[in-house]
């Protein structure tokens, strides 16, 4: 059965002003990503991975072409609509975790639900469930400064997953982690992907991440150089 497409990218171009001219970060990208995919956008530094992820997360807009996420054309969204899209449907995982430093683990995970104005009881249940997914029940009252890198990233995953979004965008999620922690969080995400059918899109050049991916889209100089499922099997094996 063919899965429904939740992201459509058509002739997408992204240019940044540099000096007197423009630098083309993404050049004529065409992609379609379906629900439940565990996909990686890979490539060397400067290939446009993060830029593409930012556009998919409605944090940035295309210069030309179109990116349609969950039926929303990104370039036509107002700030408020973009925020609503992120709030309701997209989870972010960052390379540097980006946890809110003055909040506890519980409060960090709870934050997206506060924005969704979820009732307190329901919210508490969801937060505890998300913290359990990532196995940090014993760190619930800790602050980010008291956590290891692996633990911090697991909190970030819980925060991204707590609202059960359709899409999770993970930008180099293992870049600051050792091998053991990397595998731990990747297994966690893989599990959540299969359990909740959440679409995971990674921007990475970490071989460990690639071994878990079901689809790899390779970017080179802002263009899609390869997009295939076959490569996954080769790498994974």
């Amino acid at each position: 059965m063919e899965k429904s497409s939740i992201i459509e990218i058509n002739n997408l171009v992204k240019k940044f002003p540099v000096g007197g001219g423009f630098f083309t970060a993404l050049d004529n990208i065409n992609l379609s990503i379906s629900k439940g995919e565990f996909t990686g956008i890979v490539g060397p530094s400067g290939s446009g991975k993060t830029t593409l992820l930012n556009i998919l997360g409605s944090l940035d807009v295309p210069s030309e072409g179109e990116a349609i996420v969950l039926g929303n054309p990104i370039s036509t969204l107002s700030h408020k609509q973009a925020a609503q899209l992120r709030n309701g449907h997209i989870g972010f995982i960052f390379q540097t975790y980006n946890l809110l430093p003055v909040y506890t683990v519980y409060e960090n995970v709870e934050f997206p639900l506060l924005l969704l104005k979820m009732p307190a009881k329901e919210r508490e249940q969801a937060v505890l469930e998300a913290i359990e997914w990532v196995g940090l029940n014993d760190k619930i009252k800790s602050k980010p400064a008291q956590l290891s890198g692996g633990e911090s990233q697991r909190v970030a995953i819980a925060r991204a997953m707590v609202k059960k979004p359709e899409i999770v965008l993970a930008d180099e999620p293992t870049a600051n982690l050792d091998s053991e922690n990397s595998h731990h969080i990747l297994r966690t995400m893989e599990h959540l992907n299969s359990e909740l059918s959440t679409t995971f899109i990674f921007a990475t050049h970490d071989e460990k991440v690639m071994s878990y991916l079901k689809r790899i889209i390779r970017l080179e100089d802002g263009k899609v150089a390869k997009d295939d499922w076959k490569e996954v099997k080769e790498v994974a094996s």
């Binding site: 993060t50 930012n54 997360g57 944090l59 940035d60 700030h79 408020k80 925020a83 609503q84 992120r86 709030n87 309701g88 972010f92 960052f94 540097t96 980006n98 946890l99 809110l100 430093p101 003055v102 909040y103 409060e107 934050f111 997206p112 506060l114 924005l115 969704l116 104005k117 602050k143 925060r159």
Partner: protein
């Protein structure tokens, strides 16, 4: 509601940074209220002392009397109206004289007041005649300036109602201390009876000080009623000018407090860029972020009011009871200044200060927070300084 909850969480979570800011801001509250209270207390004391020592509840002036023109004194006296001979009035006869302390010549104002009067705080009961000597009272400033002491004899020269010069020795029966220089400097107080005899103006006075406002409605030909408002107009003018100075101090203190908040907010924007980017990535609108930061800044002033109350209330109560000792040389400024000023903290002053600081803090917080709206979220997430 969510913004308030998050702002409080951010502030309390920031720990020492918040408390340092709050404590600095609380100093502003306490100092502003203390300073304004002191000024108000000074004003209240000045009014109270002037009423007690000089003007009472109003005065009837002889129609020719002009306190700023000594030449009017010669003719500005008349028989005390019968209507104004009650115990609730104190007639005063005023004329010019000359004294010769240590061989120098000095012009003085001679004021005769009933020895048994109860209207003004002057210690007129000391004006008891002994051995035919004329007892007089002088103020401490007058005594200090002329090196005069209690019991000293002084040569006094004056002109009677016919313009004839006369002179006698008078004895300093008492030296009084007052916060009102206008009854002290250059003044010699005698009993009304003595001065009337000396000037051959029996039964006459220049002004009649009233101990009750109820006499204000009395119509007496040749006499003009001067109300409390009229008599305090000069002092009110001084207070008004002092208030302008006080307001400048108030604004300076407020500006210092606001600078602290503004500085903290600006610093927050740079330090918390990543946090702001994360807020936006997690679904906050830019407007919500601005609101959050504005409330955070405003909430600083709420916490500061609470912290200020903890140490400020006992401190201000203590100051209110103990008073504030004025430096010695303030005695010569020329307006009524007590040795100890007791601050006056009105409800309006406290509430007004709290509201002004809160509103200003919120506005000052909004200004840098507005900058956040212009921040590129993708750069903010990475913490790139913009």
């Amino acid at each position: 509601m969510m913004s308030i909850k998050l702002a409080l969480r951010n502030l309390l979570g920031a720990g020492l940074r918040t408390w340092l800011n709050v404590i600095v801001l609380s100093f502003s509250y306490v100092i502003i209220i203390w300073y304004q209270g002191l000024i108000d207390g000074w004003n209240v004391q000045a009014r109270r002392d002037m009423i007690a020592w000089e003007i009472a509840q109003g005065q009837f002036w002889h129609e020719g009397y002009d306190p700023f023109d000594p030449f009017t004194l010669e003719d500005s006296h008349a028989k005390i109206p019968e209507k104004l001979t009650s115990e609730n009035v104190a007639p005063i006869l005023i004329t010019q004289g000359t004294i010769y302390p240590e061989g120098r010549i000095q012009g003085v104002i001679l004021k005769g007041i009933a020895q048994d009067q109860q209207i003004l705080r002057l210690p007129t009961d000391l004006l008891v005649k002994e051995n035919g000597e004329i007892p007089v009272l002088i103020g401490k400033r007058m005594a200090t300036n002329n090196k005069l002491n209690e019991g000293d004899y002084l040569t006094l020269r004056w002109r009677d109602s016919n313009g004839t010069f006369d002179a006698t020795e008078v004895r300093i029966a008492g030296i009084f201390k007052t916060d009102v220089p206008s009854v002290d400097k250059g003044h010699i107080w005698l009993s009304l009876q003595d001065l009337q005899q000396m000037t051959q103006s029996e039964g006459e006075a220049t002004m009649i000080v009233s101990g009750s406002e109820s006499l204000s409605g009395m119509d007496m030909p040749g006499w003009e009623y001067k109300s409390l408002d009229f008599l305090l107009a000069d002092l009110d003018q001084i207070i008004k000018q002092k208030s302008v100075g006080g307001s400048i101090m108030y604004i300076l203190l407020l500006l210092l407090a606001m600078l602290a908040i503004f500085d903290t907010q600006i610093l927050s924007i740079f330090r918390r860029q990543k946090e702001i980017g994360t807020f936006i990535a997690l679904g906050m609108t830019r407007k919500q972020v601005v609101r959050l930061f504005t409330i955070e800044g405003g909430m600083n002033s709420v916490l500061a009011a609470l912290v200020g109350a903890v140490y400020g209330v006992p401190l201000l109560i203590w100051q209110n009871n103990a008073g504030y000792a004025m430096p010695y040389n303030t005695d010569d400024i020329g307006i009524a200044i007590s040795e100890v000023i007791y601050p006056s903290y009105s409800f309006g002053l406290i509430l007004g200060t709290i509201i002004i600081v809160m509103v200003t803090a919120t506005i000052v917080s909004y200004m840098p927070a507005r900058k956040i709206a212009k921040m590129n979220p993708t750069d903010a997430i990475k913490g790139k300084i913009q």
